[in-house]
């Protein structure tokens, strides 16, 4: 088949370009394999994490979002691998030399490209002319493994993990105070604004870094707040009780009271109401307004039934406050569950001679004496027995410390060896025999055998 020079030139350039693209694609795919596997592993981990975090892969939004991310990652992988592989890409000249060397063209293409000779005719069959074939296992392996890695997490049965928030332990007093505040709100006993103010103070303490919650200053502040709240509740309880008592007496004996007594009760009531209003923990506004409106005249003319109801309301508040205050007491300070009786304490500590109970010691910390006492008979400390003293922790031993002591005896050969009359000895000893039997080498034994023969 006749070929013109320009057509040969074009054909060869096309073949050379194809060879160059082929080998460069090979380089790209070579880089794409491991990089795609790396991204596949990362992607699999991400999918596993998302699924364990409750990711709903079936929702349209999630599919869109996932598609965007996957598309972006694929583009990124393609770009990165192209940049990595680009350093190994072959040039057109290299591809041309590869072709002419494989086809044994005597470097005719190089000479033609330089313009020194004509382009050689193009063979009809050019398949595989560059001497390369695709290495399919290398080509297919990495993408298949990558796809498998990405797909695997979707098929694994994963239950979304429960949201577990790890909250560090905080001082018990905060929770106690918050419980009181909650009770006060529910019972509508105290002013909500004041309760909110105390709650904010607790939150302020909680806002400190958790590692400082148990610092000395923080615990001091907590104690101070707790005591202050306890005092204000106690004051509220006392004033409520006084107001309730006055109101109850007036309701019960309103018409039978002398004017002086009625006046005194009205004064006590007014004083208690004033205390409820001006105390550190004011009473609930509604109840307080109802009480404040009651003058001494109103009290005298008050319907006994209404007075009784009001007195009952105050009594309920007082009982609730009493209940709270009883819980305010520290364990061991009062009677109740978890506090050991004196008998139980004596049983645990052992009874004193004579059956007299031990002194109770401190107010809240059990006995004050040490659980040791003198006896008529001296304790047997067994000082005559030699005991081994060891230092089990040699890492803390100071230079000169005794590491250990033990009692032992010298090993004395007690076999009789003294000379007896007549030049004989009681025992010949075994030293020579031991040397003979144990210490000599076979050669030495042979020498001795020969000598003593």
């Amino acid at each position: 088949m006749s070929q013109t020079r320009p057509s040969c030139s074009r054909a060869w350039k096309r073949i050379i370009a194809r060879t160059r693209r082929r080998v460069n694609l090979g380089w790209w795919l070579e880089w794409l394999g491991p990089v795609s596997m790396l991204f596949a592993v990362i992607g699999a981990c991400v999918v596993l994490y998302l699924r364990s975090a409750g990711w709903d892969e079936a929702s349209p939004d999630q599919i869109r979002w996932t598609g965007s991310v996957v598309g972006g990652v694929v583009l990124l992988v393609l770009g990165v691998t192209w940049l990595l592989a680009r350093r190994r890409f072959v040039t057109t000249e290299q591809a041309m030399v590869r072709l002419e060397s494989q086809m044994r063209l005597d470097n005719a293409l190089t000479a033609a490209a330089r313009g020194l000779a004509d382009w050689p005719p193009v063979p009809e069959e050019m398949r595989g002319a560059d001497g390369w074939a695709w290495n399919w296992p290398r080509l297919i392996g990495p993408p298949v493994v990558s796809a498998g890695l990405v797909a695997l997490p979707f098929f694994l049965p994963i239950r979304p993990a429960e949201g577990v928030t790890v909250r560090p332990n905080e001082p018990m007093a905060w929770q106690e105070m918050e419980k009181w505040l909650e009770d006060l709100r529910e019972e509508k006993i105290a002013d909500p604004e004041k309760l909110e103010e105390v709650a904010k103070q607790i939150e302020a303490l909680r806002d400190n870094p958790s590692e400082q919650w148990f610092s000395h200053s923080n615990l001091e502040a907590t104690d101070s707040l707790r005591e202050s709240l306890e005092r204000s509740l106690s004051e509220l309880e006392r004033n409520t009780a006084e107001a309730g008592a006055a109101l109850s007496a007036m309701a019960k004996f309103g018409n039978e009271l002398s004017p002086e007594s009625a006046e005194r009760l009205a004064g006590e009531f007014a004083e208690a109401v004033q205390g409820l209003e001006a105390g550190a923990m004011p009473m609930d506004r509604k109840t307080l307004e109802a009480l404040s409106k009651l003058t001494s005249e109103d009290l005298k003319k008050m319907d006994p039934q209404a007075a009784q109801e009001l007195a009952q309301k105050l009594s309920q508040n007082r009982e609730a406050l009493e209940r709270m205050l009883s819980q305010c007491k520290n364990p061991g300070e009062g009677e109740g569950e978890g506090v050991l009786s004196e008998k139980e304490i004596l049983r645990m500590l052992g009874e004193a001679p004579g059956g007299e109970p031990y002194p109770s010691g401190g107010t809240s910390r059990g006995r004050g004496d040490a659980p040791m006492f003198h006896e008529d008979q001296e304790s047997n400390l067994a000082t005559k027995n030699l005991q081994r003293a060891v230092n089990p922790d040699l890492s803390r031993a100071a230079p000169g410390d005794i590491v250990g002591m033990s009692q032992t005896e010298h090993q004395i050969d007690k076999s009789p060896t003294s000379v007896r009359p007549g030049g004989t000895v009681d025992s010949a000893g075994k030293g020579g025999g031991r040397v003979w039997e144990a210490d000599l080498l076979p050669d030495e034994k042979a020498v001795l055998n020969r000598f003593y023969k």
């Binding site: 082929r22 080998v23 090979g26 380089w27 795919l29 070579e30 394999g33 190994r88 072959v90 000249e93 290299q94 030399v97 590869r98 060397s101 494989q102 086809m103 044994r104 063209l105 005597d106 470097n107 005719a108 190089t110 000479a111 330089r114 020194l116 000779a117 050689p120 063979p123 009809e124 069959e125 050019m126 398949r127 595989g128 002319a129 560059d130 001497g131 390369w132 074939a133 695709w134 290495n135 290398r138 080509l139």
Partner: protein, 341 residues
């Protein structure tokens, strides 16, 4: 450097073919040897022929001299040959009433010097050839005398007779472009020789190329294009003959010199012209690599004990070094090209 036209190449190629045909008519069954000898001549190189007696080494050189119309002198190297016997000596002559030394040229002053059994001369005499082979001149008593152009040394040596021989020093071996092994002929070639030759009668051979034509072809060889990739291949090939540079070079104690690379390039160019091409190629380098390299590498003791030969190791190096230093991705594998021309 001016480039050759296709017509010039064709003309030179035709002359070379005539020369080879003439030589093949003298020496039967040695086409490859004849081709390499002509290649060496066109590359301006000296050639060392090694083979058993009677294989036609001397006949080949004599035939070459006849075919090329070149001056030829034969030196039979013997142990008592002195340097002056081949370079020439100053002779005391009387002229115009004065006595003075006049240089009497030796047998080296010719175009084609046949150094027969070169390894029988002493190293001192062998070394007298160094300057002549490299610089193509002779210096005697401080006076330098240029040799006629072109100048070639075609030496022969017998590989089996070791008694009374002196191995050529490496420096001199390096000056030979090719070392060619002359192998025995097969039975059919022997029959052809018997039918066409007679003992003691030299074959008739007419000149087929003038000295000027030969010089023109030798100049044309210099203008043959040596592609960069081929030069790179030559460099890597020579480098691979050095210990540690290739697997095959583990058997080599000393590798080839830069002169080997130059010789390889020159021989490849000559072969390119002989093939009617404007350029030298990988194939040209591969064709002349073993004759160029085999006498320039020195095998180590273990390799010699293992029975390895210089030619064998050079062939191993040639097989090991790829023509193109191109790394291939593992996603591609080597395969046999389908459409190879």
């Amino acid at each position: 450097m001016p480039t050759l036209t296709e017509a010039e190449i064709a003309t030179h190629n035709a002359g070379v073919r005539r020369l080879m045909e003439a030589l093949n008519s003298v020496l039967f069954g040695q086409e490859r040897l004849v081709e390499l000898v002509v290649t060496g001549i066109l590359a301006r190189g000296h050639i060392l022929l090694e083979g058993l007696p009677g294989l036609g080494k001397t006949e080949l050189v004599k035939g070459l001299a006849k075919a090329l119309e070149l001056g030829t002198k034969r030196i039979q190297f013997t142990p008592d040959l002195l340097p002056g016997d081949i370079t020439g000596n100053p002779v005391l002559q009387e002229a115009n009433g004065r006595r003075e030394f006049v240089f009497q040229p030796g047998p080296l002053f010719t175009n084609l010097c046949l150094a027969d059994e070169i390894n029988r001369a002493s190293p001192k005499t062998q070394s007298a050839l160094l300057e002549a082979m490299q610089e193509r001149r002779v210096t005697v008593l401080g006076e330098t005398h240029p040799l006629p152009q072109p100048f070639f040394v075609l030496a022969t040596q017998n590989p089996i007779e070791l008694e009374g021989t002196y191995p050529l020093p490496e420096a001199q071996l390096d000056r030979f472009l090719f070392k060619l092994d002359v192998h025995r002929n097969d039975a059919s070639t022997l029959q052809r020789i018997v039918e066409n030759r007679e003992l003691g009668v030299e074959p008739e051979l007419k000149p087929v190329m003038t000295r000027e034509a030969l010089t023109g072809i030798m100049e044309a060889v210099r203008t043959i294009y040596l592609p960069e990739v081929v030069a790179n291949y030559i460099a890597r090939l020579v480098d691979a003959t050095h210990p540690g540079q290739s697997k095959a070079a583990t058997a080599i104690k000393y590798g080839a010199s830069p002169r080997a690379a130059l010789s390889l390039a020159s021989a490849a160019k000559a072969r390119g012209l002989m093939s009617g091409r404007i350029n030298a190629s990988f194939e040209d380098v591969q064709a002349v690599a073993v004759p160029v390299l085999q006498h320039r590498i020195i095998l180590d003791y273990n390799a010699r004990i293992d029975g390895k030969t210089n030619a064998g190791v050079a062939a191993e190096v040639l097989a090991e070094v790829p023509v193109q230093a191109l790394s291939v991705p593992r996603t591609l594998k080597e395969s046999q090209p389908v459409g190879a021309a």
